[in-house]
Amino acid sequence: MRRREREAGLPELEKILITAASRMGESKPSLRRRLPGGRGSRIVAIGLCAVAFGGTAMAATGVWNPLVGSSEHPAELSDTPVPAGLVAKLGVLRREQTPQDRSPEVEATLKVGHTGFKYKPNFAVRLGSVRYLRPGANHEPTILLSGVTTVRPEIEPKKERWIAEVEEVCVARPVPGTEEAAFICFDRSELMSGHAVMGVSNPADGFAVALGVVPDGVATVTAKFDAAPPVNVPVEDNYWELPLSGRQLVNQNRGTGYFPASDPLPGVRRTVWRDAEGNFIPRQDPYTPWWVTRGREEAKTGEPYR
């Protein structure tokens, strides 16, 4: 069965709820002040940035200031470094940012990804982490970037002391037949437990793909289906993508558990990691929703993406 969202019957109420949900993230101190090591100091942030990239040359030089999101709803930017833990897990972030990573095509994807950015006022993009992954059908490339979401404090006054920053690695994937790019982010637990998986579809155009981000060492992802034979998908730049059709699209949204563990996308029941020799790679962590830890790990270690 395919779950399709429709237009709201009462968009007036939907709008109020979106505004309320967005406002939750706005009652926070400024992002830079609270980021580990940030404390409002640009010099400190630059210093950490070099450490975070493990001594690799810091990308293409010069100022790069593309529009992220739409002009009406630009995304917030963060000049904080990509956490060293995340860089250590994703080789694509360890390579230099090339001119291709800053090309007009990439800028187009950053711009058309506005649906994802529009209502994420608490999400800040790191431009230095933007990486070109692969070309799209109409030259719009799929891109990867890192960002940080600041989670609102709890409503109850006694719990206001915790304010978590959730480090995320995101993929913006242009969708053929639309003016949009699907934009999806995964936190550390989703990445390391094999749940950084998502489906993107445009039923009107007959387009459906499964995609995902995996840590270093994973050379092949085996996508398993309920009603179709498993498919091995090669991983490149920590990213894999699989076009779906026929019985691969059967029987989604029937699992239990948390997104995206149970039914991440049309048809795919689960994925298996394999190394370059075809050996099975066990998941490195159990999946723990970020809100279970409530940022306590970050508070303890100062390193949210170990």
Partner: protein
């Protein structure tokens, strides 16, 4: 194209604090169910809309604490209907539609014109998609109802597949249909009364 359409309810709620659009998708998915539930009990579109606003505001506030019941998979329907029921009872007890959650979240007032009120009535009178109806049921009842009612399979075959007696299957089908009936009164019953 809606990226969130493939998320489970649990997934949407877990992501709500990071992405308000996730809650919008949750709202759209269950809007008709909640309006139908509330309209079947209060029979007034303005009142139902006011109650629904409080129900969804309460759900928004509690989204981060949502834990799906083992019997209902990742569906948020039982949880949402429990919120709706509690909101309804609290409002009856106080004699006014409660607005605790909306006040805490500083929600704007919901202002509806005649056209919007007509849409509320339409929402409550439209047939619910079968998937949404079935999500109301625990796994064991849902499997039995799907196999018997939708797939029109024999009790014997279903019993063999589920590893239980035919009597158990019959009971599950009966209980499943009974639950659906009690939760979702046909529109004709309340519009005529």
């Amino acid at each position: 194209m809606d990226l969130l359409e493939h998320c489970t309810d649990a997934g949407l709620l877990a992501r709500t604090e990071r992405d308000p659009l996730a809650f919008a998708a949750f709202y759209r998915r269950h809007e008709r169910l909640v309006f139908r539930y509330l309209m079947s009990r209060c029979r007034d579109p303005e009142l139902a809309a006011d109650l629904a606003a409080e129900v969804f505001a309460s759900a928004l506030e509690a989204a981060g604490r949502f834990k799906p019941e083992p019997s209902s998979g990742s569906s948020g329907v039982p949880w949402l209907l429990t919120i709706a029921r509690n909101t309804l009872l609290a409002s009856v007890r106080h004699g006014v539609v409660v607005d605790y959650a909306r006040r805490r979240l500083h929600c704007e007032p919901l202002v509806l014109d005649d056209d919007a009120l007509t849409r509320v009535e339409d929402l409550a009178s439209l047939d619910l998609p079968i998937e949404q109806l079935l999500a109301y049921l625990p796994d064991d009842l849902r499997d039995a109802v799907v196999a018997r009612v939708l797939e029109e399979r024999d009790y014997e075959e279903i019993a063999t597949q589920l590893g239980c007696s035919q009597q158990v299957v019959r009971k599950r089908v009966s209980r499943g249909l009974g639950r659906l009936r009690s939760a979702l009164l046909p529109a004709s019953q309340w519009t005529q009364s």
